[in-house]
Symmetry: none
Subunit: 205 residues, 4 copies
């Protein structure tokens, strides 16, 4: 039985009304423009709230972005955790993670764009709480891989980190065109195919 993932119990500080409106407004705006060209003024106007509240509640324009991000991520992680409870075995869990991850990006193109394109550009991100969660997520996957190795299901002549890179990287690369070209990500059978590639390899035998 796997240890519990590392993100459990994380919850967001409660922000009053105004803060909530601002988050919602930013999410709305991100649907149309990239973060860089959304001004605080516009966010406030869209929210019907005061611009200064951005600074009161989130410290920063970027703080607001992170708040939005974290909220979404926490929801995803909570869902994921619950879904994982019903599945046994490292392999099947990895498959599930991949599938849900793609679904996550497919369901919310805005979030996908931020995670895949927007946020990595900004140095501060990698010191943020949000990134901590992302790292936990990555570590959890590595752990799953190692469990698979211990159980004799997964080859152990390659590093678990590399396996995770291939899985996560492949998955992200596949999802990227969605937010870039404002195309829909079709979550259909792709997760399956991607994991199949990773799990089985591509060589004919």
């Amino acid at each position: 039985m796997p240890e519990s993932p590392g993100w459990r119990g994380l919850s967001e500080a409660s922000v009053p009304e105004g803060g909530r409106k601002l988050k919602k407004a930013l999410k709305t705006l991100l649907r149309k423009e990239d973060f860089g060209s959304i001004t605080t003024a516009k966010i406030a106007k869209t929210a019907g709230a005061n611009e200064a509240l951005i600074y009161r509640y989130f410290g920063d324009k970027r703080g607001l972005l992170h708040a939005v991000l974290k909220e979404s991520l926490l929801r995803y992680l909570a869902d994921l955790e619950k879904s994982l409870e019903n599945v046994e075995g490292a392999i099947d869990r990895l498959k599930l993670v991949a599938k849900l991850n793609i679904q996550y990006y497919a369901k919310d193109r805005v979030i996908a764009r931020i995670f895949l394109l927007e946020v990595r550009n900004y140095p501060g991100y990698f010191e943020s709480e949000t990134y901590e969660l992302v790292k936990d997520y990555g570590r959890y996957m590595s752990r799953l891989v190692k469990e698979g190795m211990d159980a004799g299901e997964i080859r152990n002549d390659v590093s678990s980190g590399h396996i995770r890179d291939v899985l996560l990287g492949g998955l992200e690369h596949f999802c990227m065109p969605g937010p870039i070209f404002n195309r829909k990500i079709s979550p259909g059978s792709d997760a399956e195919e991607l994991t199949k590639i990773v799990l089985d390899g591509i060589l004919k035998r």
Copy 2:
């Protein structure tokens, strides 16, 4: 024999002295800061050239970035093309591409950062000439995969695009920490391991 890759023949317009200094200056600055926080003033000062020349020669601050990018990319592609001439078979070519790609990012962390983090953030990029080259590169890899399928070396029950995604994505994910944390990318045996994972799969058998 594979068709020739699609990027052949592209060459850069010649720019006079001042332009060269500016490109060099930008490359230097990118070693320390991200593009967003490098000002045109600073570029000009570093270059010892006049700020207005950025506009004369590159149209735009971002034009300058693209010029730097394209130059580097073209060099990489030319090298790659030459190296490929000595290798036969889709599989071995794919292995070589992966290896050289990682080496490319390893050798120049600045370039790696721009390609992996910086540039994707900016919508205009995906309409740029540079991105055209990148797309050609991706298409070339897909073509290699298909050749492998035709030759019976690669399974053909999954899409070639997905295979490319897994390969390229894994590779990029692996290289990312380099520019992010200003760490060195160790090109050692990682390319091999990554391709091994993709080619053979991770399941024990």
Copy 3:
């Protein structure tokens, strides 16, 4: 016997708990920063009281400052008045005033800074109650000078106002470096020396 100084009888309106905490907080903060860069938020936080109370009790951020000022000034004036009771003669009284004034500034660098630097910058000050007190103080000194003239102790070929200017100005100029450079004002023999300079010049012979 001199007429009583003009500031007698002034007393401060009683403010409840919260108000007292705010005044104390402001005094504390002024020890480290200048008034301009102390925010109402910081005052409230330091006081452990609510920001809005500043407005309820003092009408204004600056009103709070004046309250602090006035309180201190009244205490000084009361002390001064008592000390003066034991001294006869205009000259000796002037000497005492100078000495106590320097001691006043020496004892509380915060107050010194406000009076010597901070407050004069703000036009409203010169219409404030506090400034009324200060004026009374100045007038009282002029009166002392005139008494000295009448008693034949002080030359009367120069205006009493000028004499007061020289005395007060010299004294202030001497005390200024204290708050400016956060140095201690050494009240030692300086008051004596300053008055000696002024008095020897104004004594009839």
Copy 4:
């Protein structure tokens, strides 16, 4: 013969057209409002120049103020130096300095206000070049006093610094009401009287 005063040779870096207009505009505005309530926007508009030039040429809104100040101060010091050439003897020089100083404040109430009230409030001032000049000026006066002592004209049982404080302080205190209440400073016989007060006190007999 006294050593030359310490401010000789100081000159301002030449600023292009736009900078000059901004300085002039600020001077104009200071005639009506205090520095704190003059906005950069208003300065630029008054100057008919671009707001950003304030930052290009003076680094800062306050930098512009200092430029104005320094320019005026340098002019004063140059005039003073020339006038002093025709006068012999420490006493007479001190008298002249006092007189010209009062005239300086009398002639330009704007400058007087800045020096006497505005600028001292701002911590950075005391690290500025302008303040260096002011200090030189003070030191020059102390030197004059010492020369007078050496020549046996001035009593030497008190510190020269204190004498300077009394002189400068008295003079400033006398001039202060001018800028405060927007009154005219009458430079008439006051300088004489002030110095008479101080000098007669410090003259040996």
